[in-house]
């Protein structure tokens, strides 16, 4: 099989001012975009910064897990499953794990 890497890259902090409901809409939400569009319709992941900062101080993740600058890290699901990036906590112990039940908690098309 031809191996095609499909990393996703944080492209910037987008402010979803138009949103009034849901987990997103706060300043600092990060929308991940794929470097290479895959042949499927899984929406890009959206990271709600607010729900993490109310639980953890910035230095818990920055710069050890994620660079300070949005867009500084290329993140793949393989990395996450290997315990890097989001996977440092989202492992079923500290926080809910990556499962086929939880895909949509992050990969949810912005309304």
């Amino acid at each position: 099989m031809t191996r095609v890497r499909q990393p996703i890259v944080v492209v910037g902090m987008l402010v979803w001012n138009v949103l009034t409901a849901g987990a997103w809409g706060a300043d600092g939400d990060v929308v991940f975009q794929r470097r290479k569009e895959a042949e499927h319709d899984t929406p890009p992941a959206v990271f709600p910064h607010w729900s993490h900062r109310i639980r953890y101080r910035c230095y818990v993740c920055h710069p050890g897990l994620f660079k300070m600058q949005a867009g500084g890290d290329a993140v793949t699901m393989d990395d996450i499953m290997a315990g890097k990036f989001c996977g440092a906590c989202h492992n079923g112990t500290t926080a809910w794990a990556v499962t086929f039940e939880t895909c949509q908690r992050c990969h949810q098309a912005p309304p």
Partner: protein
């Protein structure tokens, strides 16, 4: 079939021997992702199908020049595995982990500790925002921390001790002008950030050693990495430049 509820014949002739078992497992990794590679078991398939049912037309054998990639999009188009799966065999919807075995189907998780503050029970930003103190058109995160509205942990291990707060103010006078004087309080920052969050990138450890401009800050560099998105907005001039404080 595994429970014996059905025992389908393998040939039209009831006396003919059943084809032999073939237990070769194959990993399909079209996406190049370890996480989403699919485990294909010949063993379960040859209970239903003969070799020629799938080879070489549907799945050309290894070494063939043209081996079309097996993708979820093709399966959804009723090609590849989708010729059966989704019609006469289990469909891809809600059965992901039956092939993509590296990812569990169910999310079983018990939070390791109770919420520290009521805000941690919320899932919606508009509800959380209503609990947070606000000013300058944005949440006052440092006030929320001081007031105990949020009780953020200092480590992934929630018992980790907080980094020490470093109470040293740095004052700069850009262009030598007292009107432009900017005061940086380490104390408010070290409540959130570790030294390594900001030093030595983008700020070398020596005070006033980093040339920077408001244009760069407005473009998201230096202070603008956080201020303007996750910290109070850059329009609140007087909070850093005391001489620019607007008295209402």
């Amino acid at each position: 079939m595994t429970t014996g509820a059905i025992v389908p014949r393998s040939t039209i002739n009831p006396l003919a021997a059943a084809p032999p078992a073939f237990d070769l497992g194959v990993e399909v990794d079209t996406s190049g992702s370890r996480t989403f590679r699919a485990a294909f078991s010949h063993g379960t398939h040859v209970q239903w199908l003969g070799c020629q049912s799938c080879h070489p037309q549907l799945f050309p054998l290894r070494g063939s020049a043209a081996r079309p990639p097996i993708t979820m999009a093709a399966i959804a188009r009723r090609q590849s595995c989708g010729l059966c799966h989704g019609t006469v065999a289990f469909g891809p919807a809600h059965a992901c982990s039956r092939c993509h075995a590296a990812v569990p189907a169910k999310a079983e998780w018990t939070p390791p500790e109770a919420p520290r503050a009521p805000i941690e029970t919320l899932h919606r930003w508009d509800e959380a925002q209503a609990m947070l103190p606000a000013g300058d058109g944005a949440p006052e995160w440092t006030k929320a921390l001081i007031d105990g509205v949020i009780l953020p942990r200092a480590g992934i291990d929630s018992s980790a001790p907080a980094e020490p707060v470093f109470a040293s103010d740095i004052t700069r006078r850009p262009g030598g002008l007292d009107e432009s004087r900017v005061v940086f309080p380490h104390s408010a920052h070290t409540a959130w950030l570790a030294c390594s969050s900001c030093h030595p990138v983008p700020y070398p450890m020596q005070a006033n050693a980093t040339p920077m401009s408001m244009d760069q800050v407005n473009a998201g560099q230096f202070c603008g990495t956080c201020h303007g998105s996750v910290s109070f907005p850059l329009s609140a001039c007087g909070r850093c430049h005391p001489a620019m404080e607007v008295t209402p």
